[in-house]
């Protein structure tokens, strides 16, 4: 496929070689240098594309090699263990795994109604106009704000509000915990699903929609029966993007989650996540098993992300095949 262009150029070159005029030989040289350039350009592209694959593989290999001491020392106990005790070298990732999954999925549940509403509103109701532009830019801005700022906002605004709520509910008023972390995360991940959703909603062919209208469907019926079924794989891909962001978010979460490696008893209890524990404890982890366990935590986070992505891709594929 890619070589289809070469024969033509060569034939042209041969034809030109027959005539001896200076002008034409310049042209020949030029066309050869063009061929050379094409080759260099192509191999540069391949090199850059491959380098991404190699970097991902290298990261994975580094994580595996560096976590070998902890894998050897702790084995499967690392996955199922519930204590994280750097003093006696007992490391269990279970509370962190649970914390990461609960905060991410809770955030997703909170954010999906918002991101879908925005996607449908901007894609279907107001695709053009100043209001739509304003909304679109503001939502993109949400994604551009550094996460530490969300953390600050969480600590100074959201935490006191949640604390008041907890006092009213009669729970120990920490203010920080899994619920607060999920709320912050929900705000942070809205733009990912919303932007992608808006694009796919706009791509629904107007012929389909007009057909439905002509059959007497109301706007809501068109959205429900035409737009959403047509756009669902795109909408789901947006959710997947959001989830990926939520799983790896570190700074904002660590500022409001309470950083206690316990199995959470309610959504208001403090918790801990994999990304937070790595960020928090890496600097002072001088013992070899300790350091290696933190790297194994990174490996676990890597694997969890890959698994969720693979499952997500499967689901998207099934949507598209239908």
């Amino acid at each position: 496929m890619q070589q289809a262009n070469y024969p033509q150029t060569f034939i042209a070159g041969k034809a030109l070689n027959k005539s001896k005029s200076l002008k034409k030989s310049v042209a020949v040289r030029k066309s050869f240098s063009q061929i050379k350039f094409e080759k260099i350009f192509k191999s540069t592209l391949v090199l850059i594309a491959l380098s991404v694959v190699i970097i991902v593989l290298a990261i994975f290999l580094t994580l595996v090699v560096q976590s070998l001491p902890s894998i050897k020392a702790l084995g499967w106990k690392f996955l199922g263990g519930k204590t994280w005790d750097p003093v006696s070298n007992v490391f269990g990732a279970y509370p962190f795994l649970i914390g990461t999954l609960i905060t991410s999925f809770l955030a997703l549940i909170i954010s999906v109604p918002f991101s879908f509403a925005i996607a449908i509103f901007l894609g279907e109701y107001y695709p053009k106009g100043w209001l739509s532009e304003l909304l679109k830019n503001v939502i993109e801005l949400i994604a551009a704000i550094p996460s530490v700022i969300y953390g600050f906002w969480g600590v100074f605004v959201l935490v006191p509000i949640v604390r008041d709520l907890e006092t009213k509910l009669g729970i120990l008023p920490y203010g920080i915990g899994i619920f607060t972390a999920s709320l912050i995360l929900a705000v942070m991940i809205v733009p990912y699903a919303a932007s992608l959703g808006r694009e796919v909603v706009r791509m629904v062919p107007s012929a389909l929609k007009e057909g439905a209208y002509s059959l007497g469907a109301t706007r809501f019926e068109v959205i429900k029966n035409v737009v959403i079924p047509y756009a669902k794989s795109g909408l789901f891909a947006g959710i997947l993007l959001s989830l990926g962001r939520a799983l790896g978010e570190t700074m904002a979460v660590t500022m409001v989650i309470g950083n206690s490696p316990i199995i959470p008893t309610s959504i208001f209890s403090p918790g801990h996540t994999m990304a937070s524990v790595i960020a928090n404890e890496f600097t002072e982890a001088a013992d070899s098993i300790y350091l290696s366990s933190l790297i194994e935590m990174g490996l676990l986070l890597f694997v969890v992300t890959v698994i969720i992505n693979v499952i997500g891709k499967r689901i998207i594929k099934r949507f598209t095949n239908e």
């Binding site: 191999s43 391949v46 090199l47 491959l50 380098s51 190699i54 204590t83 994280w84 005790d85 750097p86 003093v87 006696s88 007992v90 600590v155 935490v159 006191p160 604390r163 120990l172 008023p173 920490y174 203010g175 920080i176 660590t254 500022m255 309470g258 950083n259 206690s260 490696p261 403090p270 801990h272 937070s276 960020a279 928090n280 404890e281 600097t283 002072e284 982890a285 001088a286 013992d287 070899s288 350091l291």
Partner: protein
């Protein structure tokens, strides 16, 4: 075929790149720049000291405050000239160093117990047992009989106690947990001591500012931060009963009193729960770490000389800058011990300082 060739090209490229990378990390910079890494606890003092020293001698010191653990790791990998740690090396760490490492005390610091109790501005009194029981999660409310008995005349409200601790590994935690282990057998057996421990109760904040944030915001919270941090942020600080039975508030003077003890020859000692009069019990040293034999990785004799002179200056002239930054300068006996340790450093087996 074509793809295979491209992969080969890419592989060569990466091999070359990684080789280049490994060469650059081996380089140690020029001899007029000394590299250090480690404790964040001592960083404010070090940045002051090194900037003064630079003005005097034109020697650049590049100190990265990446945490004690990171400093130890970088010294093990020989990428820095000195590390700095808030705890002496453990056996495991010494073994990995592969050579003798000297601990030179730089200064001492105190850890303050601070709290947010609405309506209480006075400095509360704590005994070691009460403090340990609070952090073990056994005393759950502020108006517990044991706390009230220690603070007669102060009206203590009935708030639940929320504990705030450091979630990141830190020298501050190390000193505090060493103290709790020293005064409470239960803490020692259940939790132990270290830069990061398995806390029986409470919330974790990232960094001193994280803990301070938790305390300031949440009524009923108790936690610990470095003395300097508590002073700068005007946080209430508790008086702790020392081994002599006195209730002592954290200050530079009471930290000096705690550090004014006879140190072992290698200076590796914790000074928590001091029995000296007027000593604040939760205090500790921070140590600069260097290899005893300075001729390694093609380092020059001049470089070793400059490093030793810098550390010598730190424990003498440099000490005058401690008080202003709420660190405790070394006591005369600690300075003597540090001098002897510095003099034991060698280059090719010959002592560097005379």
């Amino acid at each position: 075929m074509k793809l295979f060739k491209n992969i080969k090209v890419a592989a060569t490229f990466f091999l070359a790149a990684s080789l280049l990378g490994s060469i650059t990390t081996q380089a140690q910079g020029d001899d007029n720049t000394i590299l250090g890494a480690g404790s964040t606890f001592v960083y404010p003092l070090f940045s002051k000291l090194f900037s003064v020293y630079h003005q005097k001698t034109k020697l650049q010191v590049n100190y990265q405050s990446i945490g004690s653990g990171g400093g130890i790791l970088q010294l093990t990998n020989k990428t820095v000239d000195f590390g700095d740690s808030d705890a002496p090396l453990t056996d495991d760490q010494s073994k990995k160093m592969g050579a003798d490492v000297l601990h030179i005390p730089m200064c001492a610091g105190a850890v303050s117990i601070t709290y947010n109790l609405p309506g209480v501005n006075a400095s509360l009194n704590f005994t070691p047992a009460v403090l340990a029981n609070i952090f073990l999660g056994k005393i759950k409310t502020w108006n517990d009989a044991s706390i009230v008995a220690l603070n007669k005349g102060i009206k203590i409200p009935a708030f639940p106690i929320i504990i705030a601790h450091r979630t990141d590994g830190s020298g501050t935690t190390n000193i505090f947990t060493h103290y709790l282990s020293a005064v409470s057998p239960e803490w020692s057996s259940k939790v132990g001591s270290g830069g990061a421990v398995n806390w029986p109760a409470g919330l974790g904040g990232k960094g001193s500012e994280g803990v301070a944030g938790l305390i300031k915001q949440t009524p009923g919270t108790i936690g610990y931060v470095e003395l300097a941090y508590a002073v700068q942020n005007k946080m209430p600080q508790a008086k702790i009963q020392n081994a002599k039975g006195q209730f002592v508030a954290p200050s530079v003077a009471s930290t000096i009193a705690a550090s004014n003890t006879k140190l072992p020859a290698d200076s590796k000692a914790f000074i928590v729960n001091s029995a000296t009069a007027n000593a604040y019990p939760i205090a500790g040293f921070t140590w600069a770490l260097i290899y005893k034999e300075q001729n390694y990785s093609n380092r020059s004799g001049a470089r070793a000389q400059k490093l030793l002179q810098l550390l010598w200056w730190n424990i003498h002239e440099g000490q005058q800058y401690c008080q202003g930054l709420t660190y405790a300068p070394l006591s005369p006996s600690a300075t003597k011990t540090a001098e002897a340790i510095l003099k034991s450093a060698t280059f090719n087996g010959k002592p560097i300082l005379k």
